[in-house]
């Protein structure tokens, strides 16, 4: 058992490195194919030709393309992403600032998605085939379909513009510095309510569908009937048998979802102008800030892979037979 798990782990790590490598290579190729010379940002026409070549040398752009590629790879895997063109500081410092926000924001949203989906699914499962159940099932489909930018803007129109309840953008009020820590947290939360709803709605609807389908599928199985006949209480059957079996398909979806969330909730961050990874990536792409683009890609890819791996490990914990399947 242990050796199999180890084998799975090594297998996964090797493929992840390969995936990351291909990802970075693809981005490198795209950047080099793109029209426009990144050097032009640093060379003014007044600069003497000697200085211009010196600048070119400092970016390694005078060397042939394959040597550039290899030095680029070596730098990336030693953790040096270079200096961001637009922020003028090291890429890792820039990402660190934005990643902290995304980490907190996305984790809260992810936990909320899970919790809401679970609570509602348990409630409607207990009221199976009643009106509440049917309405919730329909509503989940509708909510899942609503594009997040439409939902976000609708919320802004209703709650910020018409009712004037919540702020439209940002994460803190103007006079944020003079208040205590608790008030600061409250202020942040107050600013994040609409973004959280926007980000959480579609995800909870998706999780709900998976959980609800899982509950009804598992509860129709023979072993549940036999448990019921043996006289176990409904609560025990649900907690010990239905839930662990129904949650499995959800976990791989949740892994992917979590990875995407950590890469930044792009649309939500753009609507509410939040300082997250998604908006950072988009602005880096639009400003042709190549080192930052590569840094964001690398971090996002890494987190996706780690999230998938964690999801697999959790799945194995529920069902040991999966180890073999996953290796193949």
């Amino acid at each position: 058992m242990k050796s199999e798990l180890l084998k799975l782990f090594i297998n996964r790590i090797l493929t992840s490195i390969l995936v990351l490598f291909l990802l970075i290579t693809l981005v490198f190729i795209l950047i080099r194919l793109a029209p426009g010379d990144p050097l032009q940002k640093f060379i003014s026409p007044k600069l003497s030709p000697e200085l211009a070549t010196q600048v070119e040398k400092s970016f390694n752009l005078d060397k042939p393309i394959h040597i550039q590629y290899f030095s680029f790879l070596a730098k990336i895997f030693s953790g040096d992403f270079g200096v961001s063109y637009s922020y003028r500081t090291s890429v890792l410092t820039v990402i660190k600032n934005y990643f902290l926000f995304t980490l907190i924001f996305s984790t809260i949203s992810f936990l909320l998605q899970f919790l809401i989906a679970f609570l509602i699914a348990r409630f409607t499962f207990k009221n199976k085939d009643k009106l509440v159940d049917r309405i919730t099932n329909r509503a989940a489909v509708v909510i899942y379909t609503i594009p997040s930018f439409v939902l976000g803007l609708f919320l802004v129109i209703v709650f910020s513009v018409s009712l004037n309840l919540f702020p439209t953008s940002g994460i803190e009020s103007i006079h944020n510095d003079s208040v205590s820590v608790l008030q600061k947290i409250a202020d942040h939360l107050y600013h994040l309510i609409l973004p959280l709803i926007t980000l959480t709605a579609a995800g909870s609807a998706l999780f709900y569908r998976y959980l609800r389908d899982g509950f009804s599928q598992v509860s129709n199985m023979n072993f549940i009937t036999s448990l019921r006949a043996s006289g176990f209480s409904e609560k025990e059957i649900f907690n010990k048998h239905i839930l662990p079996n129904a949650i499995q398909p959800l976990i791989s979806v949740a892994g992917i979802e979590f990875g995407i969330l950590m890469g930044g909730a792009l649309i939500t961050e753009v609507i509410f102008s939040l300082p997250g990874m998604g908006r950072l990536t988009v602005s880096a792409i639009i400003n042709h800030d190549y080192p930052l683009v590569i840094g964001c890609t690398f971090i996002a890819g890494l987190i996706m892979i780690v999230a998938n791996m964690i999801a697999d490990l959790i799945k194995i914990k529920f069902d040991k037979r999966l180890t073999k399947e996953l290796i193949e």
Binding site: A34, T145, I157
Partner: protein, 415 residues
């Protein structure tokens, strides 16, 4: 009582379109008639009036009559339409009609704007008064006649002959006010109704945007962008997915592994990232959006097609066909595709809704089909700057988008 079927709905819509817009259809047909007549009698170069709007208008009128004919007389289509109406087929019918007959449904060009100070940011169901100048120039040659007829029939993004105003006064001269500014116009220049100056009324059913353009018209024309992008991107994904799956199943083990691993790689990284990267670096327009969305959407189709093809490969009819000596293309088109078509179509329908969503999300981020086409996402993007003054700029395209996506998704689920 006979059931109210989809056929009845389509017939009612088509006939009401013909009745309500009969005036326009007849003038367009008359334009065609004059055009053909002049092209036979005159030698001068009159082909120059054939441009995209002209072809678009004429072809929609022709399509209107053809579709009416087909719906009534084609037995198979007639039978297929004898189904009960529901949410899905109503929405899809309306979408298709907007796509095909956009110039007939709307009464103006999607980019039409005039006197912005009066017409900008009007509420839904509001209307504005305007007066019309007399048409002064009297064409002499046949060609000039044709061109002036063309100008009066085909909608254009501008019109010098009308003036919108908030309020007006008629004394010896005609005075009108545009956002506080007074304009004096000579009475003799204006179109009159008997003795009085004729004041027209323009109705904006869904309001106007910040440039005074009619939201309703733009929504109708926006459906064309969404459906066009969706259709072509899905077509590219379909061809790529099927061909790659066929190569992976029919050729050696190595190629199979390489293609499958590459697919897995593309599935781990969110496609939106590459789409953004590509569009930002290489420029965004209608074609590049279609290409990028098509090339990033084939992975799920590939997986489905591959697993289906593997099971087909071992079936006897396939082996027989192979032994008879059909070549690879015939095997794919005649033997495999008909068998796997149902799961593939379901996947394509979901892909279609994904592409429509992706296109509007890209437009929302400013990387969509560009400014010259009024896509729904683009409308939402430009509307978000006016959230406090003009909610309809966001809510209306948003609702249209949601309804479209819901209908397409439901259609996929039902199949």
């Amino acid at each position: 009582m006979k059931k109210f079927t989809l056929l009845t709905l389509i017939l009612i819509l088509l006939l009401s379109l013909i009745l309500l817009r009969g005036n326009y259809i007849i003038s367009l047909l008359y334009l065609c008639y004059v055009f053909i007549k002049t092209s036979f009698t005159q030698n001068s170069n009159i082909l120059q009036i054939i441009d995209l709007p002209f072809i678009d208008n004429v072809s929609s009128v022709l399509l209107l009559f053809i579709s009416l004919f087909v719906v009534v007389f084609s037995k198979s289509i007639n039978k297929k339409l004898q189904q009960k109406i529901n949410f899905i087929n109503i929405v899809i019918t309306l979408l298709l009609m907007c796509f095909l007959f956009a110039p007939i449904i709307t009464v103006q060009h999607p980019d039409f704007q005039k006197n912005i100070s009066v017409t900008k940011l009007l509420h839904p169901f509001s209307s504005v008064e305007y007066v019309r100048f007399k048409n002064e120039n009297n064409p002499i040659t046949e060609k000039d006649k044709l061109i002036s007829l063309y100008n009066s029939v085909i909608y254009k993004p501008y019109d010098e002959n009308i003036i919108f105003f908030d309020s007006s006064q008629t004394d010896t001269e005609f005075k009108c006010f545009q956002a506080g500014e007074e304009i004096v116009i000579d009475k003799s220049l204006l179109v009159t109704d008997g003795k009085e100056i004729k004041i027209y009324n323009k109705f904006f059913p869904l309001g106007t945007d910040e440039f005074g353009r009619d939201v309703f018209t733009r929504i109708i024309f926006g459906s064309r962008i969404s459906l066009l992008v969706g259709f072509f991107a899905v077509l590219i994904s379909f061809l790529l997915g099927i061909i790659l799956a066929y190569i992976a199943t029919q050729s050696g083990r190595l190629l199979n592994i390489v293609i499958s691993r590459l697919t897995d790689l593309f599935l781990t990284v969110p496609a939106i990232f590459f789409v953004l990267l590509f569009l930002a670096f290489f420029g965004n327009n209608l074609i590049s959006v279609i290409l990028v969305l098509g090339f990033t959407g084939w992975m799920s189709l590939f997986k489905i097609a591959k697993s289906e093809m593997i099971s087909v490969k071992q079936k006897e009819f396939f082996l027989t066909a192979k032994l008879i000596g059909l070549n690879k293309r015939e095997l794919l088109i005649k033997e495999i595709l008909p068998v796997i078509i149902v799961p593939v179509i379901v996947n394509l329908i979901f892909q279609f809704s994904n592409v429509i969503l992706a296109e509007s999300a890209l437009s929302f981020l400013g990387l969509g089909t560009g400014n010259e086409y009024s896509s729904w996402g683009r409308m939402i993007q430009s509307g978000q700057r006016y959230l406090s003054e003009a909610w309809w700029l966001v809510i209306i395209p948003g609702l249209v988008l949601i309804i479209t996506l819901l209908a397409i998704n439901e259609a996929g689920r039902k199949l």
